[in-house]
């Protein structure tokens, strides 16, 4: 029921034109307010704190929906951040998750390649065992130079403006990996649907593209990898706990990231030149597939962690897989 309600909001407030406007530097306030005033940012908060105390399994389709709409504000990230932070430390506004935190000479702190770093009001970073909440207002934001990207490197001259929450740092990479896996899965499903639609509509050699066997086979491969990604992402949210397990999240991010590149490539191959244009909506999603693949570790990063876990265990691979 929450998923339908969120979808209704996004249908009205996150149309492709809105995504384009916000990416071009336009105000994200109307979209953000629509999400904030309906209380959706509190989905995971406990009922005592006025939240919906939603189990993670029910959060999954909501995050996928944010992916489907190429949502150009850190809504999913804010929901996760608000769940990770103790209630007294939760600020109002958009919170994004840092993929890394570096300490440099002279006490400078930096968060490289931070998704939504151009617009976020706060950045929540892992600092060893702790979390560090850093205000965007005092940050120096450096754009990546990538066309229309909202990703930025942020730095602070010192950590004085930050709020430190000890003890829960390890939860951030797990939540972030699972979260981006869900976003990728949602975007990928939409990309698949758009490609299927295009192949049904576009006529060449007197018949629709979808009637050509070579095209049918490409669409089948896309469907296979989209299905595998979606179930891998869902698995990370299949838990009674309040944070996804690191291993399930690692597999979710690995599987979706690997498929993201393949699915984006087939989508563009089947769309032809139109898919590359700015005016066609496919690029809103495929640009994000690539950006989200890179965010919080690609499959290259997570496969290594998973592989070390397998090799360090004394279980058979089949048992290991069952234990995830």
């Amino acid at each position: 029921m929450f998923t339908e309600a969120i979808e209704d909001i996004l249908k009205d407030h996150c149309k492709p034109a809105t995504v384009r406007a916000i990416e071009a530097g336009g105000s994200c306030a109307p979209l953000w307010q629509a999400l904030e005033t309906t209380g959706f940012l509190e989905l995971l908060a406990s009922e005592a704190d006025g939240g919906a105390q939603l189990p993670l399994g029910d959060l999954f389709p909501i995050l996928c929906t944010f992916g489907r709409y190429a949502t150009p504000v850190p809504a999913a990230q804010t929901i996760a951040a608000r769940a990770l932070l103790p209630s007294h430390a939760i600020p109002a506004g958009m919170i994004t998750l840092a993929t890394a935190l570096r300490r440099e000479a002279g006490g400078i702190i930096s968060c490289p390649l931070t998704p939504y770093g151009m617009i976020a009001d706060f950045v929540l970073a892992r600092d060893a065992d702790a979390l560090l909440l850093l205000p965007g207002t005092s940050a120096r934001r450096q754009h990546t130079g990538v066309h229309l990207s909202q990703t930025a490197a942020l730095s602070w001259s010192n950590e004085n403006g930050g709020t430190r929450i000890p003890g829960v740092g390890a939860a951030l990479p797990a939540f972030a990996a699972a979260l981006y896996a869900a976003l990728i899965s949602g975007a990928m499903t939409r990309v698949f649907e758009m490609t299927l639609e295009h192949c049904n509509d576009r006529v060449q050699f007197g018949k629709s593209l979808g009637k050509f066997q070579a095209v049918q086979h490409q669409l089948s491969v896309m469907a296979e990898h989209t299905a595998a990604s979606s179930i891998a992402a869902e698995h990370a949210f299949h838990t009674d706990r309040v944070v996804p397990s690191l291993l399930a999240a690692a597999m979710a991010k690995s599987r979706t990231s690997e498929a993201a590149a393949l699915v984006a490539a087939i989508a563009h191959a089947l769309h032809g030149a139109i898919g590359i244009t700015e005016e066609y909506d496919l690029q809103l999603l495929t640009r994000r597939l690539h950006e989200w693949r890179v965010a919080h570790g690609s499959e290259a990063h997570w496969n290594l962690l998973i592989g070390h876990d397998v090799l360090a265990s004394d279980m058979s691979l089949v048992d290991f897989v069952r234990s995830v």
Binding site: T189, F192, E193, L196, C199, N200, G210, K211, Q213, Q216, H217, L219, S220, V221, A223, E224, H225, T226, A227, A228, S229, S230, I231, A232, E234, H235, H238, A250, M251, S254, R255, E258, E299, A300, W302, N303, L304, L305, I306, G307, H308, D309, V310, L311, S316, L317, V318, F320, V321, R322, V324
Partner: protein, 386 residues
């Protein structure tokens, strides 16, 4: 709107009761599996061992999903998933009873007469009747509807002429269930095909094993020369063969067997890495395999949940088989490369033999039960493209 096919792959869990069952299967395997080298275990569901099949049958686990009145254990789809997963992970030689257990038994139960059920099913469950499936012919491969073997009406039954090829285990089996033309012409295509149970000891039947590139002979050519069949050899309705075969293939395509064909060599490689010095070098590769296996297993359980609900997830099964066999084929390709990363490093001889065997036989994974091209066509049809 979300595609119906994709929304079929929602996470489902094996019921907790299957945990106790899994433990029973493990205990049985520990007590009854002969210790053999990995290249032998890697043959998994191509490993023929009638003695093992009889032991498994005595435990009640051949034809295990069949009802008790026919000698089965009435296991549900989830328990069957667990049984198959454990058998294949252990590299148990299940080939002798495999086809009867997985396809012929369920087919006879669904489409057979009561007399056929009473005759064949208890024998299947006792591992006394091994089955093979006669589909391909010398001129009929992927284009299955073009079968030319013909059954013609005669006094007291049917007269069968023609031949089948690539028939797994025909030279070890008691019966073949053959898809043949019983009316019409080759142009009639899917119409006029029927399935017959043929006793392979009947006069006029001859079987010639075909040796494969790994030195095994797992499949055969089967010739029918004026074979006289009684009326009760027909399974299901005359002319319904095509629909029956397709229902049967849904059982064949979705189980753990479409994901685990190469698991023995992968497990053994991991064992070698754990005791050697190259673990770190290959950790990412192992991590990728673990990730893919987890997703495939969950997809397979999702389809098993549909089977358990009595649905017939034909398209979903085709989708899993295509991506599952890709995983199975990647494993030997990657290990073959990894063991020769540095010619100065010694290669475990058992690993060398196992990966050599799997590399050579792996092309069959995407041939048996429907080629990639056929499966992708089925998926495309499920997407409404044809």
């Amino acid at each position: 709107m979300e595609s119906n096919l994709l929304s079929a792959f929602r996470l489902a869990a094996l019921p907790v009761e299957t945990n106790a069952f899994r433990a029973e299967v493990r205990t049985f395997l520990e007590q009854n599996l002969e210790p053999v080298p990995p290249d032998v275990r890697a043959r998994s569901w191509m490993g023929f061992n009638a003695v093992f099949s009889k032991k498994l049958a005595a435990r009640g686990w051949v034809g295990a999903t069949l009802p008790r009145q026919y000698g089965g254990a009435n296991l549900d789809a989830f328990s069957r998933f667990v049984l198959v997963e454990e058998l294949l992970a252990a590299g148990a030689p299940v080939s002798a009873h495999w086809i009867a257990d997985r396809q012929s038994g369920p087919l006879i139960l669904k489409f057979g007469t009561e007399a056929q059920r009473r005759f064949y099913l208890p024998r299947i469950c006792a591992a006394e009747a091994f089955f093979c499936i006669g589909m391909s012919e010398p001129n009929t491969g992927s284009d299955l509807a073009s079968v030319g073997t013909r059954a013609t009406r005669c006094e007291g039954g049917w007269r069968l002429n023609g031949s089948k090829i690539w028939t797994t285990n025909a030279h070890h089996s008691h019966y073949v269930i053959a898809l043949v033309r019983s009316s019409g012409e080759p142009e009639s295509r899917q119409n006029g095909l029927s399935q017959f149970i043929v006793d392979l000891s009947l006069p006029g039947v001859s079987v010639r094993p075909i040796r494969d590139l790994a030195g095994d002979a797992h499949f055969s050519a089967v010739f029918f020369d004026d074979v006289l069949l009684t009326n009760d050899a027909l399974v299901g309705a005359e002319g319904s063969g095509w629909a029956q075969v397709n229902a049967e293939l849904a059982f064949e395509r979705s189980g753990p067997e479409r994901v685990l064909s190469s698991i023995v060599v992968l497990e053994y490689w991991i064992t070698c890495l754990r005791r050697g010095s190259q673990a770190a070098t290959h950790a990412a590769t192992i991590g990728r395999f673990a990730t893919h296996l987890t997703a495939l297993r969950n997809m397979s359980i999702a389809v098993t949940a549909k089977l358990a609900k009595g649905e017939s997830p034909v398209v979903e099964a085709a989708l899993i088989k295509d991506i599952g066999t890709e995983f199975e084929q990647t494993i030997p390709a990657v290990i073959e490369s990894a063991i020769a990363m540095n010619p100065d490093d010694p290669v475990d001889p058992d690993l060398y033999r196992a990966v050599a065997y799997v590399s050579r036989i792996a092309p069959i994974y995407s041939l048996r039960g429907g080629t990639r091209e056929i499966l992708r066509g089925i998926v495309a049809r499920g997407l409404g493209l044809r």
